[in-house]
Symmetry: C2
Subunit: 433 residues, 2 copies
């Protein structure tokens, strides 16, 4: 390829505007890094009148026409959502154009189909911006760690929920109060469902697991629990045992230990207590971090800003330069392999650990009967702390690892015990020795 490399930009919101600005203001640097000049061929938007800052001759409402234009070399998709983003991407591949995307929802829903279409066309599909904003994590998984065997990823990949949980820990506020503050400050959207109920984190977990374990994982495969049920009591109880509460995206390869079904993957998003000494515990506010465990590399952590126009644009532009260089050399970069084709393990069978706080009657035999209930469900107890207060007592129990179904069945059984006046806090625990 010679001449000038031309970029079609689909969408011009916060991220798109930042990408467009960089392509205009830093064209010389970007061109020097790519090996040829780069320019914007057009910007597809729904309402051109809403974009007075974009040169009028670039604006179009015909996204499909722009994507398939002969002079367009690569497409940047920052529309978000499933349609029309999916059709436009497929049209781009069919027309022989590489795509850079920030679209976690689409990649998590249809990554296999999109990668197959890109491979078929011999073009690139990169989407670093889809997970953890500016933090380079997908390329390290796809390329840097591709010679290693990954066992586990634990990420804080949603800034909104991390901000809310950080504020709950700092102020003692309940979820509703902290959410209201986050909304007021612009850290939470008017409809916070995607963040608060864990949909956003689940999409990112699916993408991380797919790349880390070389196996297809979709958002629907991810067990998902949000943070709206996390109480001020949960946060206080966590502090008492030297922990903090975080919404975690956890991707694990579970060894089959020679079973007929072989290894499997477990992918889940839920709030959990983690020790304050864990590297993820100090990731506060709107920051993101991804903790990776690999057989040879050991423990790694990637930390940075997980959202925002500029940080996300940094990730888009990194992919854009990489894809453009591939265009110059004439060969696409490495694709994504799904050869491992591992089964997804249901949450019920996934080993987890629980923290449980109970209000009980302070009389002989109560601890014994509670312990008996755990034993009947095959759940082993790690630590118990009993604190008396008059005729009542508080029991704080942390279990060893057991199948999640056994743990939740234990909790249900405890709620029915006459000696248990109330189950005041239940949260999973991660990262404890």
């Amino acid at each position: 390829m010679t001449g000038t490399l031309k970029v079609a930009l689909l969408g011009c919101g916060t991220v798109g505007s930042a990408v467009l600005r960089a392509l205009q203001e830093q064209a010389d640097d970007l061109g020097a890094r790519i090996g040829c000049p780069v320019e914007v061929a057009g910007v597809a938007v729904r309402r051109p009148s809403h974009h007075p800052d974009v040169p009028a001759h670039l604006l179009t409402t015909d996204a499909h026409g722009l994507v398939t234009r002969d002079d367009v070399d690569l497409v940047v998709e920052v529309i978000g959502g499933i349609e029309p983003a999916r059709s436009l991407m497929l049209a781009a591949f069919a027309a022989g154009k590489s795509v850079v995307s920030a679209n976690k929802a689409l990649l998590a829903e249809d990554g296999v189909v999109l990668h197959a279409a890109a491979a078929e066309a011999g073009v690139d599909l990169y989407y670093e911006a889809a997970v953890a904003g500016a933090i380079p994590i997908l390329r390290p998984l796809r390329e840097s760690l591709v010679g290693d065997q990954l066992s586990r990823i634990v990420g804080i990949v949603n800034g909104t929920t991390n901000y809310i949980l950080s504020r709950m820990a700092e102020t003692g506020a309940g979820f509703g109060e902290a959410l209201a503050e986050a909304t007021e400050l612009g850290y939470a959207e008017a409809d916070p469902t995607a963040d608060v109920d864990g949909f956003d984190a689940a999409a990112k977990a699916a993408i991380l697991a797919s790349l880390a374990f070389h196996t297809p994982v979709a958002a629907a495969d991810v067990h998902r629990e949000g943070i709206s049920t996390v109480t001020a009591t949960d946060v206080a109880r966590a502090a008492e045992i030297g922990c903090t509460v975080k919404l975690l995206a956890i991707c694990e390869r579970v060894p089959g230990n020679g079973s007929a079904t072989g290894d499997s993957v477990a992918v889940r998003v839920h709030p959990a207590m983690i020790p304050t000494s864990h590297p993820l515990a100090s990731v506060g506010g709107a920051f993101n971090a991804v903790f990776v465990e690999a057989e040879s590399a050991g423990q790694l952590m990637f930390y940075g800003q997980g959202a925002g126009g500029e940080p996300t644009a940094s990730a888009v532009l990194g992919d854009l330069v990489a894809v453009a260089r591939n265009r110059v050399t004439g060969a696409p970069g490495p694709g994504v392999t799904g050869y491992a084709n591992l089964a997804v393990r249901p949450m019920a069978e996934t080993p987890t650990r629980y923290h449980v706080s109970l209000d009980v009657a302070d009389k002989p035999g109560v601890l014994a009967s509670v312990a008996q209930e755990f034993a009947q469900h095959g759940v082993s107890i790690s630590t118990v702390r009993q604190t008396g207060r008059g005729d009542a007592a508080t029991l704080v129990i942390v279990t060893h690892s057991a199948p999640d179904a056994a743990l939740s069945a234990t909790i249900n059984a405890l709620r029915e015990m006459p000696a248990v006046r109330g189950v005041t806090s239940v949260l999973r625990v991660e990262g404890l020795q």
Copy 2:
């Protein structure tokens, strides 16, 4: 390319053995990720009898013959040092073979020549393992962040010195005692010069700066101070002002602010106090971390194991798979650009901040005369703390930022002042607001 991809391994020490083991034990996984089978063509060592675990038919003492063998597709260089590594790499390029290396000393000394030779031959040169062991940092700089403008990198990139400084902080030991412990435990080599005097970190700083700022920086361009002069007093003084002492590799782009000479880079390795709240402060023991500041991405941190056979092999194998995939697709990956060609700013002109502790006579006017000395050298003081003890007092001073030469001239002048009985601690300070 079809058939089987064949790898020549140069060197079979700790890292080489781990790479060889992975290539043998994980050949199926690696082949699936590359897109074709991979096998070891030969292993060049100096003394074959020292390697009873390596199949005899693979061993050779003729490294040059192995590198240029027709059936070899790519070369892994883990010999280290300048020669014969350099000649072997150049021979590999001339024979059309890509190279994966872990050789920081060679890349920092001769990176420009080696990259030019690889580009000329249309092959790849990757060396993720050369900096910060298993931590993916060079590929993120070369590719993920290539669309951004980097302003600063601060790294803890030498595990030996970080272990020694961590132990000094934990136990109050002096440098000699902590070094002896590190040597006994195998964290320091018998001749610790390369680590302790900062040569290792300086080579890594040169490589980081070259990639981050798209400009050639060699090890000789790096201002280098080791940790052997760090005292127990320095470490105690750091703790008193809420700091900890780390050996830092600092790479900065210094804005030219429209001057005729333009922007420049300043690259330096020296011990410094950093606030305990800084993300790098909690990087303990033999761990490494690299903190990156970019215009759009903001602050990022990469954390993990910086040395050891297995972690380093993880980085080598990641590069190996990436280079092998490029071999399969038929085009090399993105090269390294040095287009920016920035001047290297001398340490004397580089802005830094100092912490100084002085024993002074406790009488009126001493603080005034000390402050006057700073002012005469154009150095502005940020904070002063004076503690009386009988007829003597301790002055602890933290300066604002000033050219390093002005700061060191101030220290020399203070040593000559009659009222100053002793300069008990001098260290630069980084990361303070």
